[in-house]
Symmetry: C2
Subunit: 420 residues, 2 copies
């Protein structure tokens, strides 16, 4: 059994590797065209009908699951149109492959370039959203990578229809179908795939922390992790309190369930007695529960409840906010170093020098001055589209766009240079 | 015992993490000054005397080891002067920290920068060369990282003297001594350190393939691997044979024991009968043994011996060269895809279009046209200094200089922007 699975994993990966070589030889326009054809497929009547049937079947199997689960699984006409649009947008993004990042001529005449090239084969692992099958395939293929798509079993029928449409588009564009393949949802098969460090270049798990930890522990392939976002806003002593209030409300109340939402408010002790009631009042109007440390509680009184010790460093993903009073910037930076998750950290101040210290000394994938934490997002930062937000520093730190799905190689042109 | 080791590992890593935060707040000049002071120390009489005693003791313990081992261990006056010079050169290199890699202003007025920042804490693992203790520390500190140095037990006394000199320099420059620490050579302690993915950002093993594989299998920390270099030269049908001969001799015969040395020569079938005897003759004059496939053997006759099947894909690190005849560029690219190690690959041709195909379609960290494979080296490619050559694509592919010891973060400056 295990030998069979190993063989199946190796065969899938080998086919992806072969396809990735063909992609190295493909032109940018050819890959863009494949994606436009994919979008056409997604907008066609036959795909709409096949999706309706497959998604209905997936939804039937999900009977008894909670509403959020069922909602993630559903692909209705509007969502299908959204997927087609997203694929078309990725097709229109500038191609990172072939981009010359640096160039120089050495004293011996060698012309050196660092050139972006595809990573090769990417294994995407995700949970119930079948739309990832289209999104992730589009980003990987645009950047010249072959992709292995391992979604959840609950969405398999829908995903399969989405993949088949992609493979038809690849074929029409003269590219190998094996450039995008589904990995059947089988735990042992996945375990075998995660050992194939020679054939697969990168593994990207998308989902809850337990999925990511599970993959990171088992994988011999490099993994880009996106753990949780425990994001802070530090309101300095000189902050404009209207602005601080807007940033706190936007960070916490607009969309509390996302990773760049605010989870902890740090207020400087010199303004706590004025700032806390004002910001707190605005948050309470938006039904945010404040969980305050001892000093903040003294100011907020009944407007807050006492924070439990583990409320600091917690990703609530809910209308709850930890609140603490800190003594100046060193104390704020120290708090964030202890409790932050290297995701997104913001400061509100009028003092550019103070802001610069914060922006330099706080270690996170995105640091912001007088702007909402919610801007740590590939689209908002100008990457065009993102495949995830990395909280590990190697290779990509923060939102991963097309460029982050490439590596750079040294390309050297000479006229007969030898070293000795 | 194991709990004790775990505690010891955590304490070392935590001290390094704290020091790395102080480095975030340090200026470029402060770090450069620490390295100049380190070089001064290495040139001082008291360090020279301490090294002489410590190295003598290490060498005494190595009695009975082979000459190459003893040679790697030895630090004489000349080598000590070389280390001081290398440290001073690293001090003078441009600081990658703070470098703005990209900048843009979004339609909402947000100013976005991608800024280089240190990785944080780097664990270097190496074998008997004590000089790495100085080299690696210099590169890590220059790029704002704290470093944990885990060398071999056979060089421990020498390494300790080198480290103490570094720590004195750090202290004089107002930086924390814990920014560079030695990890005592104890296998179980290392095992515990390799689990500390939260406190250590990167692990770089330097040494033979067995060391690297051992670390990669055990580490939860991301590892940058430098496996072997199985480098090819493809001589196309239109190649200038004088040039091809020079490239083959330089690649194989000048320094056969290094990773960018040539291990396999591929000659196009259309010119095999002319090219092989000529290149073969030049190589044989340099005592290179040719191990030829069937078709090459027909031309070379007694000038070669038959290649064993595993001679293709082998890193000889010796005056031996595999030789094969291939039918055109597709066959050459296919051969390299099968047997190459993604290290360094070269083509010899007069045809720019043919070269471009090779440079694009061959997957290796460095691809060269009409130049020796021996140029895949940080110094030769203009990186200033290198800490290793990566054959894995994530984060760094090819020689790793100071920049590759950093990550990029998003730094966002606003004037009150909220997302909604």
């Amino acid at each position: 059994m295990s030998a069979e699975r190993k063989l199946a994993a190796m065969e899938l990966a080998e086919r992806a590797r072969t396809a990735s070589r063909a992609l190295l030889a493909s032109s940018s326009e050819q890959r863009a065209r494949a994606l436009r054809l994919y979008a056409d497929e997604l907008e066609s009547r036959h795909v709409a009908e096949a999706i309706a049937i497959a998604n209905e079947a997936d939804l039937r199997s999900a009977t008894g699951k909670n509403a959020a689960f069922v909602d993630r699984l559903r692909i209705d006409e509007k969502r299908l149109a959204g997927l087609a649009r997203a694929v078309r947008e990725v097709a229109a993004l500038p191609d990172p492959v072939g981009e010359v990042v640096e160039r120089s001529t050495r004293p011996n005449g060698l012309q050196i370039q660092r050139v972006r090239a595809p990573l090769g084969v990417i294994l995407m692992i995700y949970e119930s959203r079948p739309g990832v099958t289209a999104d992730a395939a589009a980003l990987c293929l645009r950047s010249g990578n072959a992709v292995l798509l391992r979604g959840g079993s609950e969405a398999l029928q829908t995903s399969s229809v989405l993949l088949e449409a992609c493979q038809r588009a690849l074929e029409k564009a003269g590219l190998p179908e094996d450039a995008a393949q589904i990995v059947p949802p089988d735990r042992q098969l996945l375990d075998e795939m995660l050992q194939l460090e020679e054939s697969i270049d990168l593994c990207i798990p998308r989902g809850g922390p337990s999925l990511i930890r599970f993959i990171a522990e088992r994988s011999r392939i490099p993994v880009i992790k996106h753990y949780q976002g425990v994001c802070h806003l530090y309101v300095a002593a000189d902050a404009d309190l209207d602005l601080a209030t807007r940033l706190a409300v936007d960070g916490k109340a607009e969309r509390p369930g996302v990773c760049n939402a605010l989870e902890c408010l740090l207020v400087d002790s010199r303004i706590a007695s004025e700032a806390l009631p004002r910001i707190g009042e605005a948050l309470r109007k938006r039904d945010v529960e404040l969980r305050a440390d001892e000093r903040a509680l003294k100011v907020l009184g009944n407007a807050a409840i006492p924070a439990a010790p583990d409320d600091f460093g917690k990703e609530f993903l809910d209308l709850k906010l930890a609140v603490a009073v800190v003594d100046g910037i060193d104390s704020a930076i120290g708090h964030i170093a202890r409790y932050g998750s290297r995701h997104t950290e913001a400061i509100c101040t009028r003092d550019g020098k103070l802001a610069d210290r914060f922006l330099r000394e706080v270690d996170a994938s995105c640091v912001l001055w007088n702007a909402s934490t919610r801007f740590n997002d590939g689209g908002e930062l100008g990457l065009g589209a993102e495949i995830g937000i990395s909280t590990s520093k190697l290779h990509a730190y923060g939102p991963m766009g097309l460029r982050e799905l490439t590596c750079t190689r040294f390309v050297v042109r000479g006229d007969g240079q030898v070293r000795k």
